[in-house]
């Protein structure tokens, strides 16, 4: 069964990592769901880059096994609080990640 990250994550957030970088955390309560997201490469560099219109070369993705979390980081388009910035904390940039989907359960038994 396919589910969105919005339905399966306990928290999806974005935030500045200093004034020049944006970072996104997709965090799970359930280790199995986390491993599905990680192993299916749901948040891969090319997909994330495409979603946000970024050069894949600047996008970094990390799987954090102890935190049951996948993390994405890339440079901010403009620095925090500068003339053309739209989000000083970087806190409202994660919405496009919510609709990405993951296949849950054993795919060989899926209908």
């Amino acid at each position: 069964m396919r589910k969105t990250l919005a339905e399966t994550a306990k928290l999806i957030r974005s935030k500045n990592a200093g004034p020049f970088w944006l970072t996104f955390d997709v965090m799970f309560d359930d280790a199995d769901i986390y491993r599905s997201v990680r192993d299916q490469d749901v948040l891969n560099v090319d997909r994330v880059a495409g979603l946000f219109g970024q050069d894949p070369a600047v996008v970094r993705v990390f799987a954090h096994d102890s935190a049951f979390a996948v993390k994405v980081s890339f440079p901010r388009p403009v620095s925090s609080g500068s003339a053309l910035d739209t989000d000083v904390f970087g806190g409202q940039q994660y919405a496009p990640l919510m609709d990405l989907t993951v296949e849950l359960g054993n795919p060989s038994h899926a209908k």
Partner: protein, 451 residues
């Protein structure tokens, strides 16, 4: 050795009972970070704190009274919001005020982190400055246009102050984790444990499972492990909550850079030692081949006047991009007549309901609702000029035509009169570089006084 973090940011608050409990449990020091770049460049640019004097004074009062009761040192880093000289002076004044009122006496160290243009030109010419991604190389122009520049100190200046007998250390811009790593490193504890403890403590109780309000946190260092435990009885840490903290505000959760090296958490283990405490083992600290202090700076970008305006007409919304383009051409032509060709200005147009929140990152940059808000921001070299450009802009916007309507329209709903709001000077962070200093303490003069 037990380390006590008062809260994640001085002035954000904590329960007094938490500090009392931490001190009674045998804390060897109380630390607190007082700065952040979260709010944008203005605390550094203006030298003013985001939090009020009353908020910071309340937190400091509890910290100082409890630390003097137990005769343990206090270390405050990144004083007054951004750790520049005037931010530090503001914090020093509050500390003196509390000491006088409470009849507290101690040795105080003030450690400055602000860098003069002369110093930065010298370091630049000596080839000691290099950029951090995504920034380009440092330029003389970037130095000269700075309002304030600060270097981020590591543990060494803090340790020097402690060795000189400081009871209260007030530091300008400092690594958040260094506030907590300084004392245990001085006492020979394993560097990876000291730095990992510092990384958790710098955010106060942020690493608990459910944080309802900012509060204190304690770390206990052992020979090969560090235990993290919150001080509010209703808070608890879990292995996942503590592990997750390496994610917060860091671009890379496994390589956390500090002036003297990198904390590597790739193979760190987090395990519960009770239903509220977590043990950390297995972190590695890799000493840097070259010691570096991060450089931060802010400069002015001019004066801003904003205009919020909204549109409900579906005919205008349906051709919004073209409508904005026509407006842009009309305002450019008008300003060439009024203020002249050579005058520099920026008009940032944010369209809420289309891509106002995400700008260029928005994957669906189109209007899907029945109304939009437009926030125009005019920035130029003077408030008067920005205001006059904004006045022309709002007038032209309200009457900007579309082909479907014949005759003069009023196409923008302004919620406020006057529609133009002067916002004053605005700033930007323009430095993100590393300095290779002569020594870890060379950029950070220490002044010792008796209070």
């Amino acid at each position: 050795m037990k380390l006590l973090a008062a809260t994640g940011m001085l002035g954000s608050g904590f329960q007094e009972a938490s500090i009392v409990r931490g001190v009674d449990k045998g804390a060897a020091m109380i630390g607190c970070d007082s700065g952040t770049t979260d709010f944008g460049p203005h605390p550094l640019a203006t030298g003013r704190s985001q939090f009020s004097r009353a908020a910071v004074r309340r937190d400091l009062d509890v910290i100082l009274v409890q630390a003097r009761r137990a005769r343990i040192p206090v270390i405050i880093g990144s004083a007054g919001g951004s750790g520049g000289d005037s931010n530090l002076a503001w914090l020093v004044d509050i500390v003196r005020d509390i000491a006088a009122e409470r009849d507290l006496h101690f040795r105080m160290a003030e450690i400055r982190a602000e860098q003069s243009k002369e110093t930065m030109h010298r370091l630049h010419s000596e080839g000691r400055v290099r950029p951090l991604a995504p920034m380009g190389p440092l330029t003389d122009e970037a130095i000269d246009s700075s309002l304030h520049m600060v270097a981020m100190m590591g543990t060494e200046p803090l340790q020097s102050a402690l060795e000189q007998g400081a009871d209260v250390v007030l530091a300008g811009r400092a690594s958040d984790a260094a506030i907590f790593a300084a004392l245990p490193l001085l006492n020979g504890f394993e560097p990876a444990l000291c730095w990992h403890a510092g990384k958790i403590l710098e955010c106060g109780a942020a690493a608990v499972a459910v944080r309802t309000a900012p509060d204190s946190m304690m770390a206990e260092l052992h020979d090969s492990a560090v235990d993290i435990e919150p001080l509010r009885p209703d808070y608890r840490c879990t292995p996942q909550s503590v592990a997750s903290h390496t994610l917060y505000e860091n671009a890379d959760p496994f390589n956390l850079p500090e002036p003297s090296g990198v904390l590597d958490t790739l193979h760190t283990r987090y395990e519960a030692v009770s239903d509220r405490a977590v043990r950390i083992t297995g972190s590695v600290f890799r000493p840097a081949t070259e010691y570096t202090n991060k450089l931060e700076g802010a400069r002015s970008v001019g004066y801003s006047t904003i205009i919020p305006g909204a549109i409900r007409d579906p005919l205008i919304i349906g051709q919004l991009d073209a409508w904005l383009e026509v407006l842009d051409e009309n305002i450019s032509a008008r300003l060439r007549q009024t203020v002249g060709e050579s005058v520099k200005y920026t008009i940032a147009t944010r369209v809420y309901g289309r891509d106002g929140v995400m700008g260029g990152l928005e994957p669906i940059p189109r209007v899907e609702g029945h109304e939009v808000m437009i926030l125009w921001d005019v920035i130029s070299d003077s408030q008067e000029l920005s205001h006059s450009i904004a006045a022309s802009l709002s007038h032209m916007a309200v009457h900007n035509p579309i082909p479907e309507w014949h005759g003069l329209i009023s196409g923008v709903a302004f919620p406020f009169a006057p529609s133009e709001i002067d916002r004053g000077p605005v700033y930007e962070f323009h430095l993100n570089h590393l300095i290779a200093p002569e020594s870890p303490t060379s950029l950070f003069p220490i002044e010792m006084t008796s209070v």
